[in-house]
Symmetry: C2
Subunit: 330 residues, 2 copies
């Protein structure tokens, strides 16, 4: 007989990642499949179903071993009711995801947003292991955030807690953000900001690696800027340094309010490593009182693109563990 395990799903706008996760947060088997965004909601559910079948075929597990399924969704959602209120990248509007999956699979289902799932994954079995109070930032095209308090995701009044992408970081000369404001964290320190900074730099350049990249590909990606910075290109390093300083200063303000034990930073941009983290940590300590910061460490995420499915599985793990404790008390 197999020990009980969880299924974690990280539903993205590009791909679906699904994994069997054990009770310690270790991933036993994974599946990945493109997200059929255009085919719509019901087709996504069908792909979910096919992926579980494949997962069971590849492993020795079957449905009777599965305690439940957790799903991370790139959406604004009603976590308790299990309703996806708005998922712009998926084109979903008010879909009862939890209810539909429970009908399909007849196991407990818990959903949460993708940034929250990633934060939980890092807390359970990644860079935040052992901590109870965390902030987790995911630096990609945009900037997502998850706030963990007392070992659980904190949702706030309506589920918007941790939506840090639109914190104003530049009141004076900020870029316009598609939210209608200026100087949002997302327009100043995300992958998108890196691209915009690099495009500005390229304008005045006649030579150099960044210019060559631009001439060769006709565009610039955040990934290429990060790679060039890692290879020592001074212009690209300067761009990453600037982003790091903005992030460090913004995290300092968050630290006054939340005094977290750990701040975990993940996402593609975090792959810049030391070039990003050194100025980030310096700017953080420049901007925060030593006493407030002395128990807070800033660390890179450890789980990469498996954080989301790990954290999704944790949602079920938590319920399972609490149910057992409750049973033992009675």
């Amino acid at each position: 007989m197999n020990p009980s395990v969880y299924i974690g799903i990280d539903l993205g706008g590009t791909s679906i990642k699904m994994g069997l996760v054990d009770q310690l947060g270790n991933i036993l088997h994974t599946q990945e499949s493109p997200t059929p965004v255009k085919a719509g909601y019901h087709q996504v559910l069908k792909v979910f179903s096919q992926m579980t079948q494949q997962l069971f075929k590849d492993s020795q597990y079957e449905w009777k071993d599965i305690v439940g399924v957790g799903v991370g969704v790139p959406a604004f959602l009603d976590q308790r009711q299990g309703i996806v209120i708005e998922a712009v990248n998926l084109g979903w509007d008010h879909v009862p995801l939890k209810e539909d999956l429970e009908r399909m699979w007849t196991v407990p289902i818990i959903i949460d947003n993708d940034a929250n799932a990633a934060a939980l994954g890092e807390m359970w079995n990644g860079a935040g292991k052992g901590a109870s109070h965390l902030i987790c930032l995911t630096l990609g095209t945009g900037i997502g955030g998850g706030v963990i308090i007392n070992g659980n995701i904190y949702h706030g009044a309506n589920g918007s807690a941790g939506e840090v992408g639109h914190i104003t970081t530049n009141h004076q000369n900020g870029r316009s953000c598609n939210c209608g404001r200026k100087g949002c964290l997302e327009t100043e320190a995300s992958g998108t900001a890196i691209v915009l900074d690099a495009l500005e730099q390229v304008k005045g350049m006649s030579t150099g690696p960044l210019k060559e990249e631009y001439d060769r590909t006709g565009t610039i990606t955040a990934k290429s800027v990060v790679q060039l910075a890692r290879r020592g290109d001074p212009i690209c390093k300067k761009i990453i340094t600037k982003i790091g300083r903005i992030l460090g200063c913004t995290l300092a303000q968050m630290c006054y309010l939340l005094n977290p034990e750990i701040i975990v930073i993940g996402g593609g941009v975090a792959r810049a490593g030391k070039i990003l983290f050194d100025p980030l940590i310096q700017a953080f300590h420049d901007a925060v009182l030593p006493r407030v910061a002395e128990n807070t460490s800033i660390v890179p995420a450890m789980l990469g693109n498996q954080a989301g499915l790990t954290g999704a599985a944790w949602l079920i793990h938590r319920k399972y563990t609490l149910d057992i404790l409750e049973g033992q008390r009675q």
Copy 2:
């Protein structure tokens, strides 16, 4: 026989406020006495003792009716151990307040910092009644903050959560703060900031109520600026409006992270009322996405200078209630 009640103490740098508080958070009797700061720690404990005796004399209560005593202290402290680590205004350094009071009174003692106690008071029986997720700001000479999550104070990694006075609000032209940085919330939007703004204004004035106040008293207080603003003086109204805008914009950034149900604003400066709250709420909504702010209200504190002792009593009320629930489960 009397119903069980709590004693709440708000220990300030100027005065000690003590009250008998019932299980609904209502204050039954109060005592106030100057804080013998110069006479030191043990003298403060003696005054505590004398005040309880007076409290019992004035009421029909006695020690056997008292469940425990909560104390709010203007200090950085180790809440669990009950040690006051540093209370600058009292000159205390690492004193075991909880232990000493438990020895003196032989009832349970819980201590917390004064801003946290004020936040808890407003949650229990004031402007935040019924809410689970609150931010409470106290605008006085400095700016104190308390963060309540899931109906309890959130302390963070080392007790610094909610210490919002040194959040940077003005990166470009901020005033120097005594923390060594520039543009802290406390230097830009507290009672001290109001005085500094008013003194700058007075320099260029030859007449007007503010100038008259200054000439008559040789100084300007935040209280007088607030009063003149309430009476319609345009210069003073402008000063309060500016403070309101800075506070509103800063609260917007906090809202992205914490998405609270209610933000309660108290302290002397909050007595400016509408003149402060109108620009504050306007600036808040200008700076925050509608979805993030739609379940957050900003309200003035209701308990005035009794918030601290009410919240101090709540610390014991919570313990008492949890103990009863735990007993019922066994």
